[in-house]
């Protein structure tokens, strides 16, 4: 892996393709869960293009997957903010899982039920839930990423869990 990163940093596109093949599923999962699911593939492409342009800032002594995920998270959250400003795609206010964001295919099975329920959470709650419960980030770091307080992050997490329990009937 380190060799591939070094080669890609020197402009070796074949090495970068190998990195893409190894990590595209991970990045696409992040884009789908954290961003607009209808734009997940587009965002996945943007993440890899941005990663290519910023390979020079990838520390050689730290794992590439972690660095790549951070690039993805920053890009997705930035896109979420600009998308919200443009079109207000989130359903504001109400504490119910939205039915308005049906960009994903019909789910089958428990895991896909949960995927679908996560997609339909209000954006703030969804971002915190994915970052905390799926990706394992702490509230302090989430607060920095989202530009909110740690208390807000915690409140959004509790809200997300409540909404998911209701949606899944668990």
């Amino acid at each position: 892996m380190e060799d591939l990163v070094r080669q890609a940093r020197r402009g070796d596109v074949a090495a970068f393709e190998a990195l893409y093949r190894s990590h595209v599923g991970r990045v696409h999962a992040l884009c789908r869960r954290l961003g607009d699911p209808g734009r997940a593939e587009e965002m996945t492409q943007e993440v890899f293009v941005k990663a290519w342009r910023n390979l020079g800032s990838c520390p050689v002594d730290r794992p590439f997957p972690g660095w790549l995920c951070r690039v993805a998270i920053h890009l997705i959250l930035t896109d979420n903010r600009s998308t919200r400003r443009r079109s207000r795609w989130e359903v504001s206010g109400g504490d119910s899982v939205s039915q308005a964001r049906g960009a994903s295919p019909a789910p089958t099975g428990l895991a896909l039920d949960l995927e679908r329920a996560i997609e339909q959470l209000p954006p703030g709650a969804r971002q915190v839930f994915v970052l905390h419960d799926v990706e394992g980030y702490g509230h302090e770091e989430i607060a920095r990423l989202l530009g909110v307080s740690a208390g807000t992050s915690k409140a959004q997490l509790h809200r997300a869990r409540r909404l998911l329990r209701e949606a899944l009937g668990s």
């Binding site: 970068f16 893409y20 800032s57």
Partner: protein, 233 residues
Amino acid sequence: VRNCTEREAQLNDLLDDLLSADSRAELDRHLRECAGCRETLADLRTLRVRTSELPHSLEPERDLWPAIRGSLARGRGGIAGVLTQFWTRTDSPGGSPVPRSGRILATAAAALALLVAGIVAIRRAPATSGGPTAPPPDAALLRHIESEYLGPTAQLRAALDRQRGAAPPGSLEVLEDNLRIVDEAIRQVRSAADRDPDRTVDEQLFANLHRTQFRLLQQAVRLSSQDTEEQPI
């Protein structure tokens, strides 16, 4: 005494192991008496298990690499198009105007300017002299140019790899972006020289590319050294 709605935050904190010992003991006492809170806690734990079972990887429905590959080429300043004109076939001295790049970065512009200058020189020669086209590239000369820079650039790359971690994120980005452009230019020139002996290459231009590569590496190493030195002791 708290009601059960107010307990929700406590139950979440219990799940996340954020409760103090005292708070936990108090909540445990409440849980022994409250079926509703026990059910909520069980639901939260079920949700946690189901969340942990979500796949870490979700493959896209189509292969995104071709589109990404295209963006990489554009993101590198359309260098493939410029390099196409770096070469001229001995049987075809004419050509189209040099394309303007949409993303030429500051330092790379110097290297690309050298390329453009070389193209003009190569193309003008047959038109003004009317004589024979330029001689085929001297493979030994190209190898000599490469060998001159091989050791020094390898040392600089090794130094850069060692020091990169100390540089603030993004500080080397532009330099290394430019470096990749020059690296790719050298690689393509060399590859085409090996592949097609009918093409000619300006060896001075080839040397200039190596010199630019060397200078970019020098700047990157110097920058990362300064960043290291500036760290508080």
